[in-house]
Amino acid sequence: MTEVAALLASPIAALAALGGALLVVPVLLPLAGLLLALAFGGRHAARIARTAITLGMLAAVPIAAAVLEAGAPLRYDLGGWAPPLGVALQADGLSAVMLLTSAVILFGVGIYAAPGYRIPAGVAETRGALAFWTLLLGVWGGLNLVFLGQDLFTLYVALELLTFSAVPLVCLEGRAETLAAALRYLLFALLGSVLYLLGTALLYGAYGTLDIAGLAGHLAGEPRLPPAALAAATLMTVGLLAKTALFPLHLWLPPAHAGAPPAASAVLSALVVKGSFFLILRLWFDVIPGLLALGAAEILGALGAVAIVYGGLLALAQVRLKLLVAYSTLAQLGYLFLVFPLAAAPAANAPVILTGGMLQLVSHACAKAAMFLAAGLIAKALGADRIGGLHGIARALPLTVLAFGIGGLALVGIPPSGAYLAKTFLEGAALATGQAAWGLAMQVGGLLTAAYLIRVFFHALSGFGRPPALVSRPALAQELVVLGLALGALFLGLLPPDILALMEIGRPGSAAGGLP
């Protein structure tokens, strides 16, 4: 048994020995795949994209292993030029976890989308397949660069690559309503990125560097946060909030996420909004840690709490299944912002709180991808996705409905799901720091989540004796991959503590903290 494990581990160990140069792989693979797919055309795009994603998933494992083994961030200076002259890539624990999560989810989405976006032999080529796979690779490349970039301007370019790939995914079907949703999404995103760029300009003007570590070094020396840094942080945070769709900048999200094809919705909801959230974490915890002490964290937390309740109530009121799932994303994003006020408390154990937030993020990514994909299968099978018209679907598509249910349970946060563990961490921190109100927001959110899921299941499980007429049946591989993602979210809480410790690597003060 140990020989097998050693044999399996040896290529990973060999790759891990590459060290920092390994970080180039997650950035290069998507872009290489994108260029190859463009060169070879839509007939081969699926194979190229899925191969690249599989390789990327395999590369993310040794990166995580190397970070875990070294107990320190993995770093690579591009071209051998160290900042401030050059640009660095760096993977700390958070980056390693995000690289792995996004590769796994894209792998699942790749399997799911394969039957829908392929061009059979003998059929004239259409643009749909090529567009989908190249955009998917573009999203992946943007995300990986967001996770690894250490330079605020590189991160800006990564954010734009992510946006420009994500927006056309919304309107792949070309209907007027999805085009309108995509245009609205793009305008919100452009406002967000231009505000981010303005903040970058201010920071460069004040400190003459855009390197995260360099800026943090300059700012750590200041007794009070200088006005330029404060203005820059405000602009950048607001810009990123518009891209993350935190209440009240959420208006673009439901039509865009609900109108996109299911495979695209899953990627948009599970990963794309998390990219800009990841940058908010970077900004608040790595670039300008002084922000947390200013009381602004309470504003972010309050907006998050409002998003939890407001998104939950709106999800409860939806008539269409995909819109319900989209509004649920709005609510679940709110949980992520509770991290800020909890970590801002003087006695807070920030690394553990951040781990809780990241667990929620990863858990939501898996669960929401599964739910959007399952909702897509249901909508395709029935030809419509009205919640009131779901009667008997549990008998017609048992696997799909099971996957939707397991994803929903993981979202509510029953043990042993990742969300359960995340909420344990966050509620524990809320009690320990005397901020029980944030814990209450989480409880209310959990109840609302359960309520809107029960509403779906009331319809899906009723209607015995009259099986619904299915327009088409989903492929077994599609149903299985959805089930796999849902089970991943459900069993995330069973991860060994070592993996959780991975998330804390590279956090300042993580040595003092540790898990509860």
Partner: protein, 111 residues
């Protein structure tokens, strides 16, 4: 008032005008133009930063200028994408409106 300050203020005014346009106008084209106005303001600010950082006998700090060039390319791509989307949206809405208009006319007692 130094030239750099003057240009900095101009940049701030452009950003403000663009922000007003982006928030207060409903038309897609006007909002795209407003976005470009904000972009111009930000690029002007980068220029000011380059001028202010010019020490040691240089005419300007080259880094912000390199950033502006990249930023221009990105803003141009964004504008193209937005205009293309707006065009497709207009076409799709026309296409959706046409059959309805035809259906109204077809059974009627047209002149």
């Amino acid at each position: 008032m130094s030239t750099a300050t003057l240009f900095g203020l101009c940049g701030a005014v452009l950003v403000g005008l663009g922000l007003y346009g982006l928030i207060c106008h409903a038309g897609a084209l006007r909002r795209i133009l407003a976005f470009n106005l904000i972009g111009s303001g930000v690029f002007l600010l980068f220029g000011v930063v380059a001028r202010r950082g010019a020490a040691a006998g240089f005419g300007g700090d080259p880094v912000p200028q390199a950033l502006v060039i990249t930023g221009l390319v990105v803003a141009f791509a964004a504008t193209v994408l937005a205009v293309a989307l707006a065009l497709r949206l207009a076409q799709a809405r026309d296409a959706e409106a046409e059959p309805v208009a035809g259906a109204e006319r077809a059974p009627g007692s047209g002149p």
